[in-house]
């Protein structure tokens, strides 16, 4: 580490400062960083924004954060509202509130609230409750999500996909999620698939459970299929699979 790593940056109250390499960056109040930032910890308590790329070990947002460039970090915690206009590469992502990003590649992502992704969402594990809206593909090792509103993705693929109907979520009234709880997706492909309240054109998997409230055009399964009495399935066929 260079000398700069002990060079901490603090904005208290209101201020704007140029980018660069810092130790820790803390914004208490309202602050703006112009240019690219490389730092150890990036903390926002209040409202912060950057107009360049950010590379940090840890990003912690309490309040709101707006990042106009790319963001790379080992760990990111959002309590409030964060927006990353371009790609977000993160080891461990925790969201309580809302996050929007151009694209997300994460090791683990846990979302309580809402996540909105303009392109693809890749994660080894993606868990949470609330809603997700992904314009591209959700590619996951395992997905376990409880629906509390309208969620959507073009495609979902992975090892295990479990989508359930959210029940008794304390934050639901706070987030104003009184809409229908439903996932709408074109194609789901995973080894183990468990769905509730999901509308999909095609579901392909090895062991497939089509639960309550589902409307599926075509199910192709290699091993077993389990169907709730009220699930609507256009066609289910067994295929030979590895």
């Amino acid at each position: 580490m260079t000398e700069n790593s002990t060079n901490n940056l603090k904005i208290a109250g209101e201020g704007s400062v140029g980018g660069g390499t810092y130790g820790d960056v803390t914004i208490n109040g309202a602050g703006r960083v112009t240019g690219d930032v490389t730092c150890n910890e990036f903390r926002i308590n209040g409202a912060g924004s950057t107009d360049g790329n950010v590379a940090a070990m840890l990003i912690d947002i309490n309040g709101s954060g707006t990042f106009s460039g790319k963001v790379e970090t080992k760990q990111m915690a959002v309590k409030g509202d964060a927006s990353v206009k371009q790609g977000l590469g993160v080891g461990d992502l925790k969201v309580k509130g809302r996050l929007s990003a151009g694209g997300v590649a994460a090791n683990t992502a846990d979302v309580r609230g809402e996540i909105r992704v303009g392109a693809n969402l890749d994660a080894e594990t993606f868990t949470g409750e609330g809603t997700f809206k992904v314009d591209g593909m959700v590619n996951v090792g395992s997905l376990e999500f409880a629906l509390h509103g309208l969620s959507s993705a073009r495609e979902i693929g992975g090892d295990t996909v479990i989508v359930t109907l959210g029940r008794g979520f304390v934050g639901a009234s706070f987030l104003g999620l009184f809409t229908e709880k439903r996932l709408t997706v074109d194609v789901i492909e995973a080894d183990e698939v468990t769905l509730e309240n999901t509308t999909a054109k095609i579901v392909r998997g090895n062991n497939v459970r089509i639960g309550t409230g589902c409307e599926i055009g075509l199910v192709e399964y290699g091993g077993t299929i389990d169907r709730a009495a009220d699930a609507r399935v256009g066609e289910a066929r067994q295929v030979t699979q590895a």
Partner: protein, 207 residues
């Protein structure tokens, strides 16, 4: 179905892999995004892959996994990070990366060059391979080199093919995405089509 392509379903069956494996490999960039070709079929949307490349890649991944390589190791092997590598012209000759003829083509374009960075090495390697097949002349090789240097950057991180098309003794070079289909007028002839990603990998293995 299109020739040379394999559907996802057939691929899983033939290779004996699961959806989980396929998607994990995609997340780890073991399989390039461009190889996932979406097409509408009468059963709905289906994904196809370039058959030979995909089967070869799956086999390579599976065989490396048998040797206990981690997915990150495999990712490194199939798309090595070689950006930082540079060689002098003497080293190029030493490691027999390119023939004298190919080095000559490079020299004529860059008389002052002594060290080559990875991008230049790839261009040189491709030129050498083309000259080696006897399909292109030295003059055309120069135009190949120019095309690669000007346009390869636009395909950064994605899979591209180099094309050489000849009509009435005039040769035109182009880069296209590797899954693109090419149709030429009848008086023109496709002299060479070479996948650049393969060259990058083959070169990576030699460095």
């Amino acid at each position: 179905m299109e020739p040379g392509m394999i559907s996802k379903k057939d691929l899983l069956q033939q290779a004996g892999i699961s959806y989980g494996q396929l998607y994990r490999w995609k997340r780890k960039n073991l399989i390039p995004e461009e190889w996932f070709v979406r097409k509408s079929t009468f059963t709905g949307q289906e994904t196809f892959f370039p058959r030979d490349k995909m089967l070869a890649r799956v086999e390579r991944i599976l065989s490396m996994k048998d040797g206990d390589a981690s997915l990150d190791d495999i990712a490194e092997a199939v798309s090595p990070d070689l950006g930082g590598i540079s060689l002098t012209l003497a080293e190029v000759a030493e490691r027999s990366i390119a023939s004298e003829a190919a080095v000559g083509v490079f020299r004529s374009a860059h008389p002052d060059a002594t060290t080559l960075v990875f991008g230049e090495l790839v261009s040189l390697y491709v030129v050498d391979r083309l000259l080696g097949t006897g399909d292109v002349s030295l003059e055309e090789a120069r135009s190949v080199l120019g095309t690669l240097e000007e346009q390869f950057g636009a395909f950064e991180g994605s899979d591209a093919d180099l094309l050489c098309v000849r009509k009435m003794g005039v040769t035109v070079c182009a880069l296209v995405s590797s899954t693109a289909e090419i149709r030429l007028e009848s008086s023109a002839r496709l002299v060479a089509r070479m996948n650049l990603q393969e060259s990058v990998e083959a070169l990576g293995a030699r460095l």
